[in-house]
């Protein structure tokens, strides 16, 4: 039986096409992936991402536990600050990527991938043994909306008295949104400015509808998982299960910036440190296809007739209007400018390794 978010009926009412995603019945599209994608780049889009998991870690030992299980340095966080981080296993493999919200010095909220929620919860709980910390899966009590796009702040400001321009990138705040107690953060998975909004399931429908009404004059549209995927790919944001998993390390995935070797020991540190020093044998790289044929997940990559890698995420990019993707490649083929071939249903198609991110929004606040 698939799980449904508190907004399931609302999605049907808007004509959302529902699919199974990580055990959840979620909207893959409303008006269409291309229109939704462009709306987020040019105006704003609203996503239900309540399938994401929430895990709370509390207690005097919470920070030490998180330092042990995640790769980034939790000690650098202030109250209300948010950090991108990675859960690694003993081999340095990526169990999941996540956001760590510091509520206060003894209270952290972790936002994890839907497919990994139970695995992550069990893993962290298992590591909690000697630390004075409690770990709770609070996913059922949370609705998570993502309001993304250049008009997101203006739209959300219409529903709250809190001055949103005082919330910097990767910070959060408890605010009342149209009378609903919420936590909002300036975060997202689209490459645009925007907010993620946590609220209670009982407020979900009200907030969803109010945001769509207030946002309508600004061009806000409801968006599904298809647009979420192409938006994150244009922004070169990795997707767990495609661009990283338990067999790839943060160094191979190009996420070394989220690994802080200078902090105390963490799980998988030895492997990651060695790999960082010696250089990984393979790397995640971005590519642009020099052909009309899109590259898709799983297509083999060939150089001089030799298979040198596999596409981890590939798609037409609706805003950039190119066929782009990411792939794991033997490191010697992963440098920008390298010519590769992608096997599209048996036909070799030319492509070139490109710098990531493919898309970067213009700076609007400096």
């Amino acid at each position: 039986m698939l799980k449904r978010t508190a907004l399931f009926e609302a999605h049907l009412a808007l004509g959302g096409r529902m699919i199974d995603f990580a055990g959840w019945e979620m909207p893959v599209q409303f008006s269409g992936p291309t229109q939704e994608h462009l709306a987020v780049r040019e105006a704003a889009g609203l996503f239900d991402v309540s399938h994401m998991g929430e895990i709370e870690v509390q207690g005097p030992g919470a920070i030490d536990l998180l330092q042990r299980v995640t790769t980034n340095d939790v000690a650098k966080l202030h109250d209300n600050q948010v950090q991108y981080s990675i859960l690694t296993n003993q081999d340095g493999g990526i169990l999941d990527d996540l956001l760590v919200y510091r509520i206060n010095h003894e209270y952290y909220l972790l936002v994890v991938n839907a497919a990994n929620t139970i695995k992550d919860f069990n893993w962290i709980k298992q590591q909690a043994g000697s630390f004075s910390a409690e770990v709770h899966d609070t996913s059922a009590g949370h609705i998570l909306l993502a309001l993304q796009g250049p008009r997101a702040e203006q739209i959300l400001q219409g529903l709250t008295d809190h001055m949103l321009d005082r919330i910097p990138y990767y910070w959060s705040q408890r605010v009342s949104v149209d009378g609903c107690e919420s936590r909002i953060s300036r975060t997202g998975y689209t490459g645009e400015d925007g907010f993620e909004i946590f609220c209670s399931p009982s407020d979900a429908r009200h907030l969803w509808n109010r945001l769509l009404v207030v946002g309508h004059p600004h061009g806000l549209v409801p968006c599904g998982l298809a647009a979420r995927n192409t938006l994150r790919l244009e922004a070169s944001l990795r997707l767990w299960g495609n661009d990283m998993d338990e067999t790839t390390t943060p160094i191979e995935a190009g996420l070394g910036w989220a690994v802080k070797l200078a902090k105390r020991d963490f799980i998988g540190r030895d492997v990651i440190e060695r790999q960082k020093r010696e250089g990984p044998g393979r790397k995640l790289a971005g590519f642009v296809v020099e052909d009309r044929a899109p590259a898709r997940d799983g297509y083999p990559i060939v150089v001089d007739g030799l298979e040198v890698g596999t596409v981890s995420s590939g798609s037409p990019a609706p805003f950039l209007k190119k066929n782009i993707g990411m792939a794991y490649l033997a490191s010697r083929y992963a440098a920008a400018g390298t010519s590769i071939q992608i096997m599209v249903r048996g036909r070799p198609v030319p492509a070139r390794i490109a710098e990531m991110p493919f898309y970067k929004r213009g700076k609007r606040f400096d």
Partner: protein
């Protein structure tokens, strides 16, 4: 609701054919193009290629997926809609007209009579959509 002209024959894989003598023009249905969304790439066979009925003869891609297209009848390709290389969106805009895919010379024109009528195809997509 999807448009299904009465003068065409249909398959359960959402192709249509317009048969005349031993020639048949083949495309994908209005329902199929709506399900796919914006078509961004089409891969078609070459003139002279021969396919059995139900064999895949190419693919149509939208932003989010690749869909194979299947031969409604056995035959050889005699014409390919090359304009789709530059304008794949014609499949969305005019699936029964400018969005045609190929013309086939049928080996057994009677095969076309075994395909679905527009009424049968409408019933089929209603059932598929769970309406």
């Amino acid at each position: 609701m999807a448009n299904t002209p009465e003068d065409l024959a249909y398959t359960k894989d959402h192709e249509w054919i317009r048969a005349k003598g031993d020639l048949a023009t083949v495309g994908i249905t209005d329902y199929a193009q709506k399900q796919l969304g914006d078509v961004v790439y089409v891969e078609l066979p070459k003139v002279g290629d021969r396919f059995e009925a139900t064999e895949p003869f190419g693919s149509v891609e939208s932003v989010k997926a690749v869909s194979e297209i299947y031969m409604p009848v056995t035959g050889s390709v005699v014409e390919v809609n090359e304009t789709l290389n530059d304008s794949p969106e014609q499949i969305n805009e005019d699936p029964y007209g400018d969005g045609w895919l190929i013309v086939v010379k049928m080996e057994n024109p009677a095969q076309a009579d075994g395909l679905l009528t527009s009424a049968e195809y409408e019933d089929y997509i209603k059932a598929e959509a769970g309406e």
